[in-house]
């Protein structure tokens, strides 16, 4: 029999009817619906055992305590460690996405020379050659670490230079160091005991110093109260975050901080509000008023507010003697609640005397701010975990990223007490990276190893038998049985904090009222944030909302 077209139609009709009685349509529908709910191209989180580790954040010199959530040995979340005595679990916004930084598109993955890809051996050879030819300069963004002493030792041996590079907060403390002959590293702000804090444009609530420390203090003692126990007076031309939340905001003309300080000084001295015979400021109250755009009465009122509720301390964004002088006038230097000694001064080794002639080469540690430019002429060996862009001169050497190397965290500049912590290498670097210290050690194996220096530092602290270790529980160092135990605690993410020094008094006086000269770089997008890049999720803050200005000099 022959099949006609019609037969075909009938047959297929039957087939269609039949299909309905098979799993085909129904199963396909079900599978497709599952597929459309879990498209294979959607990124999948890695699975594996979840654990919690404690460490310190190494992205700026505040060294906040962090709690890292790890899945399958990879950090999947960062949060504050409430055990940390200064930050008490508070962090800056960027730290919460820091664990993603190691995959940042600008992560430096290979050695580069003048923009071209090179190798570690070439870099090493080039550096050794340079060492043979002339003095080497080593720039260290965060003095006081174990790595720092490696640099110092190397500089000594090579008769090179090791100039201290001070952060904005440290430079703000410089004038007092100068007037009192106390090393700047030994000074700090005793915010915990202050009752009035007068900020000349310092972003106290926006990442200044140790971000968590002041925000915690402020939220406990000031936030929302009509007459707070801690008065924050913000002097700033624009209504910043800090100004918006301050007890008083005093808007002044751009750059008229020094005249205002002088005016306030005038009032205090004329009206005998301070018991010091300090030098008279060069401005009259009227001149100050004219310069700042405030009414003379307003300046007087400010002066009275300053002394109304003591102790009071004045904080500046950058180093500026003309404002720092106020603290001397108010007797806030060397007094509780003011600028205090953070340790009984240990004799520090004589600094490496600076090189007279030009430097042959400069080695920059990965903590040096990307904006920092080395002295011209010298061959640059810059270590960095992220490429800030725009640098095709000299060598660019990939350094360990977030939590990729063991490093110690010394006392942050603004702290009123000495602290010490360790940041563990929780993550295995994806590419071959080296820290500057490691690099130098490969060139000169006789240098002290970072591990050894850390052990020595632990030994030293343990011998002194003072201070407390803040781990799962807080334990007095005196109660610890061995230095190993102490070091183990630190390696598990504990923080050591020293006791207040025995004799904290020191004298600090002024010959004449200093002139204004601003030093140091003003606070960055989030003050203190050192890496040249921002975590990818920072876009939430400046692109997906109107909360913050786009980053200045920071790669998103």
């Amino acid at each position: 029999m022959k099949f006609s077209r019609r037969d075909w139609l009938v047959g297929s009709a039957g087939a269609l009817a039949g299909l309905v009685l098979t799993p085909v349509p129904w199963k396909l529908l079900s599978d497709v619906s599952i597929w459309t709910q879990n498209f294979p191209w959607i990124p999948q989180p890695a699975h594996g055992p979840v654990e919690t580790q404690f460490s310190a954040c190494t992205l700026c010199d505040a060294g906040c305590g962090v709690r890292v959530r790890m899945a399958a040995k990879i950090p999947v979340g960062v949060a504050g460690a409430s055990r940390h005595p200064l930050t008490r679990g508070a962090l800056c916004p960027l730290a919460f996405a820091a664990h993603q930084l190691n995959w940042h598109p600008r992560r430096l993955r290979e050695v580069r020379h003048k923009g071209r890809v090179a190798s570690w051996t070439e870099a090493q050879a080039a550096f050794q050659k340079a060492c043979g030819e002339g003095p080497i300069g080593i720039i260290d963004g965060r003095p006081g670490r174990a790595a720092s002493s490696v640099y110092e030792a190397f500089a000594r041996k090579q008769h090179g230079s090791y100039p201290p590079l001070l952060s904005a907060e440290r430079q703000a403390l410089e004038p007092y160091a100068e007037w009192s002959q106390v090393p700047v590293a030994s000074l700090g702000y005793d915010l915990e005991n202050a009752r009035t804090i007068v900020s000349f444009g310092a972003p106290l609530l926006d990442g200044w110093g140790i971000p968590g420390r002041f925000t915690r203090l402020w939220s406990e003692r000031a936030a929302g109260a009509a007459d707070p126990g801690l008065r924050l007076i913000q002097i700033e031309p624009s209504l910043s975050r800090t100004a918006a939340r301050a007890w008083r905001w005093i808007p002044i003309r751009e750059g008229s901080e020094a005249p205002l300080a002088a005016g306030v000084g005038r009032v205090l001295l004329d009206e005998r509000r301070v018991d010091s015979r300090g030098p008279m400021p060069p401005f009259t109250l009227e001149e100050a008023a004219a310069a700042t755009g405030l009414a003379a009465e307003a300046i007087r009122d400010l002066a009275l507010k300053m002394v109304e509720n003591r102790p009071v301390v004045v904080i500046t964004a950058e180093g500026n003697p003309a404002i720092a002088a106020l603290n001397v006038l108010l007797g806030a230097v060397g007094a509780p609640g003011g600028i205090v000694l953070k340790r009984d001064d240990a004799p520090s080794p004589a600094p490496v005397e600076p090189v007279s002639g030009p430097l042959r080469a400069v080695l920059m540690d990965s903590t040096v701010p990307w904006e920092f430019a080395a002295s011209s002429g010298a061959e640059v060996f810059r270590f960095a975990a992220w490429d800030g862009g725009g640098s095709s001169t000299g060598w660019l050497l990939p350094a360990p990223g977030f939590l990729e190397e063991l490093t110690d965290v010394p006392t942050p500049p603004t702290s009123a007490r000495e602290t010490y912590a360790l940041a563990q290498n929780l993550v295995a670097p994806s590419t071959e990276v080296r820290g500057a210290a490691q690099f130098l050690l490969q060139i000169d194996p006789t240098l002290p190893a970072v591990e050894k220096i850390i052990q020595a530092r632990c030994e030293q602290i343990f011998r002194a038998r003072q201070g407390t270790v803040y781990g799962e529980r807080s334990i007095d160092v005196a109660k610890l049985d061995s230095v190993e135990h102490f070091e183990e605690q630190l390696r598990k993410g504990a923080v050591w904090m020293g006791d207040p020094p025995k004799h904290s008094k020191f004298r600090c006086e002024l010959k004449e009222w200093p002139g204004a000269n601003r030093v140091g770089r003003a606070a960055n997008w989030v003050a203190g944030w050192d890496p040249p890049v921002l975590p990818a999720l920072a876009t939430k803050l400046y692109r997906e909302s109107n909360l913050r200005e786009p980053p200045a000099g920071r790669q998103g």
Partner: protein, 420 residues
């Protein structure tokens, strides 16, 4: 080409005068081009996602939803004429019926097509049928529109089967005959479904208690907009039919319907429009004085934002509401074609404005006290996608008109045939 012309001739009903193949092609050409562009734009949206549009998190609905609502309102003529002819036995409107079905089919299929581009995961759109949320107006809309689209297709079939070539297949003839008996039933079902989804389209915004500008008190389980939409759709449906037919008449240079038909449609349209206006005025008063203040929004604030001043409200009620209502009903204008067309146009404009206010203005207005008033301008992809629907409509209508007896056999008529 030659045999194409032959085929074309064969498809055209005997005795029907149609323009030459060439002219018809030329007429279609621009529309086809527009259609192609739109399909490309829609393709972009499918491939790259809705970031191709200018909608955003606060302007979550854009011009697509607005024009969907508009089209479906204008397409209401289909169900309403069916309702009049078969259920209210207004036999004299029968000549307009096929035309109404085609217009309805175009509006609805077009709207559904655009909706498929509008949703973020079209592949999962069918979940609504599998896990329906019976409390959602959108569920009601989805169900009714899909069903009614089916009804429209069934209503269109007999018209299609009356094509000269298709008639030749005997079984088709039988089928068509059977369908014909069914048509009154279909009209009934269609009317029922349409009442509901026209209503639920109104409900769509009326239930938004989070948007006090659109939120309305309920009668039974439906907000007042539910009923206002049914009324307004019924009111403008016939008006739109008048406009379409008149347009076709001018394009083809033929009288397609008996003189009386426009008058009847206009009168019905006008009466319903005036009822609608009364209802709307009442509703607006209730909203101004009770609904809005009750939830902490002083209603006149909504009109404090330019360009959407309160002028818009009065524009909708007076020149685009009462005026056309009069033009369409009053004997001394109802008779005159010009006035009728003008009235119909105003009426359609009024309802389009109403849909615009409810969709676009609602989203532009702030709710939180620290929100700002928002602007939104559709992207070319949005515009093109929608233009494609218009093009599709024109093409579909042209083909139907050319090869199917939309207005019965157009006998005689003057010879100066232009397009169509």
């Amino acid at each position: 080409m030659a045999d194409l012309v032959v085929l074309d001739r064969r498809l055209i009903a005997r005795g029907a005068e149609r323009s030459s193949m060439m002219r018809f092609m030329l007429w279609l050409l621009p529309w086809v081009a527009l259609l192609a562009l739109g399909i490309y734009a829609a393709g972009l949206c499918f491939y790259y996602g809705l970031n191709q549009t200018h909608m955003d998190n606060r302007f979550a609905f854009g011009m697509w939803i607005y024009l969907d609502l508009g089209m479906i309102a204008l397409g209401a003529g289909a169900f309403f004429t069916g309702f009049l002819v078969y259920l209210l036995k207004q036999e004299d409107l029968k000549p307009i019926l096929n035309n109404a079905v085609v217009v309805g089919l175009i509006c609805y299929s077009g709207a559904v097509a655009v909706l498929m581009v509008d949703v973020g995961q079209p592949l999962r759109a069918w979940f609504t049928f599998w896990h329906p949320n019976t409390h959602s107006m959108l569920t009601e809309v989805t169900f009714c529109i899909t069903c009614y689209l089916g009804v429209l297709v069934l209503e269109y079939l007999p018209v299609l089967l009356r094509n000269r070539q298709l008639r030749k297949v005997p079984s088709f003839l039988i089928f068509e005959h059977q369908l014909h008996k069914l048509v009154p039933v279909l009209a009934g079902v269609g009317a029922f479904l349409s009442f509901f989804h026209q209503g639920s389209l109104g409900g769509l915004y009326g239930v938004l208690r989070g948007r006090p500008f659109a939120f309305r008190q309920g009668l039974a389980i439906w907000p007042s907009t539910f009923f206002l939409f049914i009324l307004s759709a019924m009111a403008v449906g016939p008006s739109f039919l008048i406009l379409v037919t008149a347009t076709v008449e001018t394009l083809t240079g033929r009288r397609l319907v008996a003189a009386g038909v426009f008058g009847r449609l206009a009168f019905i349209s006008g009466i319903l429009l005036s009822i609608y206006m009364a209802a709307k005025a009442l509703d607006t008063l209730v909203w101004l004085n009770i609904t809005s203040p009750a939830v902490g929004f002083s209603p006149w604030d909504f009109y404090a934002y330019k360009p959407f001043g309160s002028a818009l409200l009065f524009l909708e009620i007076l020149p685009l509401g009462l005026l056309p209502a009069f033009l369409l009903t009053l004997p001394w204008t109802n008779g005159k074609r010009g006035w009728v067309l003008c009235g119909a146009a105003l009426a359609c404009g009024g309802v389009l404005l109403n849909r615009f206010v409810l969709t676009v203005q609602t989203l532009a207005l702030p709710t939180l006290p620290f929100d700002d008033y928002l602007q939104y301008v559709p992207s070319w992809q949005e515009v093109a996608t929608f233009a494609a629907v218009i093009a599709y409509g024109v093409i579909f209508y042209s083909l139907s008109y050319r090869y199917l007896p939309l207005f019965g056999e157009a006998k005689g008529a003057d010879k100066n045939v232009s397009v169509g």
